[in-house]
């Protein structure tokens, strides 16, 4: 079967299969961006590990940040099946030439942000990623299957942490509401621009990389999340939010904010990238040592 036949019959493309260059490039860009998001995402949450308010929460958070590093590994591995290597992709990230999710350019200024990220950001990630388990590219689809299991665990833990806060002291409730106020709109933006303004979406759909439009996935997220906010007794920061008998319809998203964060002007773009660059530079001597050791001790053939 040639590439188009595989796509038309909803089959899987594997690394050795013939594939159009544009398909390969689209996948490399998307998988790399996804991998970068996993590792940049370790920062805002890692920010609270040393300050977690109970040992149980500390353990949950350490495990979660560790999972995100693991997700990065799976995804860089999937990208490598397309003929690029991790070091090269990291260089592109560090040079600002490849992107990561805009959501991680917002600061985590309170403990409730950790809970809100689990609930909303992992929640939105699941909406986006579950369809990717049926992506036409086999290694990406399989990586997503593993990742989605862990993301849904993160989402449940986040929601549970949020539940405790919203049933807690007045200060905790306020913390929870404040986190929802700050994370709600950025979470909606995680689904990307409206379909009409998303030029590459149609081609990705035709290739079986993308299965649903941005707007449809966003709507599913809103429908799933608004009742959860109600359950928590928290107010979604959208005065225009309404129920049309079938769906919870949100108000207008401020796409100028999204465009600014994309451009590098979010509150933490510079901080996140500099942190990564610094960690990478600080680790250079260690990676060099590992390489030098390996070549000294390479078994003689």
């Amino acid at each position: 079967m040639d590439f188009q036949q595989v796509i038309d019959t909803d089959g899987r493309i594997e690394p050795r299969d013939q594939m159009p260059d544009a398909y390969r490039q689209t996948l490399v860009r998307q998988i790399a961006q996804h991998a970068h998001s996993e590792i940049i995402g370790m920062q805002p949450e890692g920010n609270w590990i040393t300050r977690a308010p109970s040992l149980r929460r500390k353990a949950i958070l350490v495990a979660k940040v560790q999972d995100e590093a693991g997700h990065g590994l799976y995804l860089y591995g999937a990208a490598e099946t397309l003929g690029v290597d991790r070091a090269e992709l990291l260089d592109l990230l560090h040079a600002g030439r490849q992107k990561y999710s805009t959501i991680f350019n917002y600061p985590t200024t309170s403990w409730a942000d950790v809970a809100a990220i689990g609930w909303l950001v992992d929640g939105a990630a699941i909406m986006n990623q579950v369809p990717l388990t049926r992506c036409s590219y086999g290694p990406y689809a399989r990586a997503m299957t593993r990742i989605c299991k862990e993301e849904s665990f993160h989402q449940r833990q986040g929601f549970e942490a949020m539940t405790v806060l919203s049933r807690g002291t007045a200060a905790q409730q306020q913390m929870a509401q404040d986190a929802l106020d700050r994370w709600w709109w950025p979470a909606l933006m995680m689904f990307g621009p409206p379909d009409a303004a998303s030029p590459n979406s149609a081609q990705s759909m035709a290739w079986g990389i993308k299965r649903f439009g941005n707007d449809e996935l966003r709507q599913r997220f809103v429908d799933a999340t608004v009742p959860q906010a109600e359950f928590l007794g928290l107010t979604v920061p959208d005065p225009a939010l309404s129920w049309d008998g079938e769906h919870h319809r949100s108000g207008e998203i401020d796409w100028t904010e999204f465009a600014e964060v994309m451009k590098g002007n979010g509150p933490c773009n510079r901080q996140r990238l500099e942190f990564r660059q610094q960690a990478h530079a600080d680790g250079a001597w260690v990676r060099e040592a590992a390489q030098a050791y390996a070549s000294k001790h390479r078994p003689v053939a």
Partner: protein, 242 residues
């Protein structure tokens, strides 16, 4: 607090403080594999700490509401991470001590310690393998890595002696078969550490300075900052649940 509880708390404090230190590496490791590994080790230590603290009292009250003089961890685990070489050198010294300690405690007459140690010995064996492999790679890697890990080792080395100190509490527990004598653990530790350092082409440091005080609550300056960071949120909301 009973003598066994006081001793259990020492071991729990070692694990909690080292776990806290290692978790500071989150998202900063030299490779993604190391991000996974360091957090994995931090998580193991945190888990062991929770079991031990939980056997003594309320784990969160013990972790978040004790002031510096009430902590009885060894000074070695509270030292700042420094670079990756220092962190791995410290981990080697600690894990080479914890492996024979947990192995001995697994047959302790105290059921709590025996239970915790049975699981912890497997984890510590992995921590020791991991740290040893890195110390060897760094020591026998490049000139820079050799110099860095040697410097890291030199910095943490004097603090290892405290792990093998004895006092009336330890002596009474040794007599009751609850724990192993430090004098029995020390040669095992020495053998492990010297073997790894030899393979790493590193020099065994010599030091006549033996800083001490952790077991009686006299800590380093760095420890106050560690506690301030770890405890501030919990303390800012008295009585809250999380």
């Amino acid at each position: 607090m009973t003598p066994v509880q006081a001793y259990t708390l020492r071991l729990g404090d070692d694990c909690l403080v080292l776990g806290q230190r290692l978790s500071e590496w989150a998202a900063r490791a030299p490779t993604l594999e190391e991000d996974v590994a360091l957090l994995n080790i931090a998580l193991d230590l945190l888990g062991t700490a929770r079991s031990l603290l939980g056997a003594v009292g309320d784990e969160d009250a013990l972790a978040f509401l004790r002031a510096e003089p009430d902590w009885t961890n060894a000074l070695l685990v509270e030292l700042d991470n420094g670079d990756f070489g220092r962190t791995m050198a410290r981990q080697l010294l600690v894990s080479a001590y914890q492996v024979p300690l947990w192995a001995a405690l697994a047959s302790s007459t105290d059921p709590v310690l025996a239970g915790v140690a049975g699981k912890a010995v497997k984890e510590a064996t992995y921590h020791l393998d991991h740290a040893s492999a890195w110390v060897v790679r760094l020591g026998d890697g490049t000139a820079e890595s050799h110099a860095r890990v040697q410097a890291g080792l030199d910095g943490v080395w004097p603090y290892a002696a405290e792990l093998f100190e004895t006092d009336p509490l330890v002596e009474s527990l040794v007599q009751q078969g609850i724990t192993a004598a430090p004098a029995v653990l020390l040669p095992v530790w020495q053998q492990t550490v010297e073997r790894v350092l030899a393979e790493a082409t590193l020099t065994v440091p010599e030091s006549s300075w033996r800083p001490t005080g952790g077991r009686s609550g006299r800590h380093t300056e760095a420890f106050g900052y560690l506690l301030a960071e770890m405890q501030h949120l919990h303390r800012a909301h008295p009585g809250a649940s999380w």
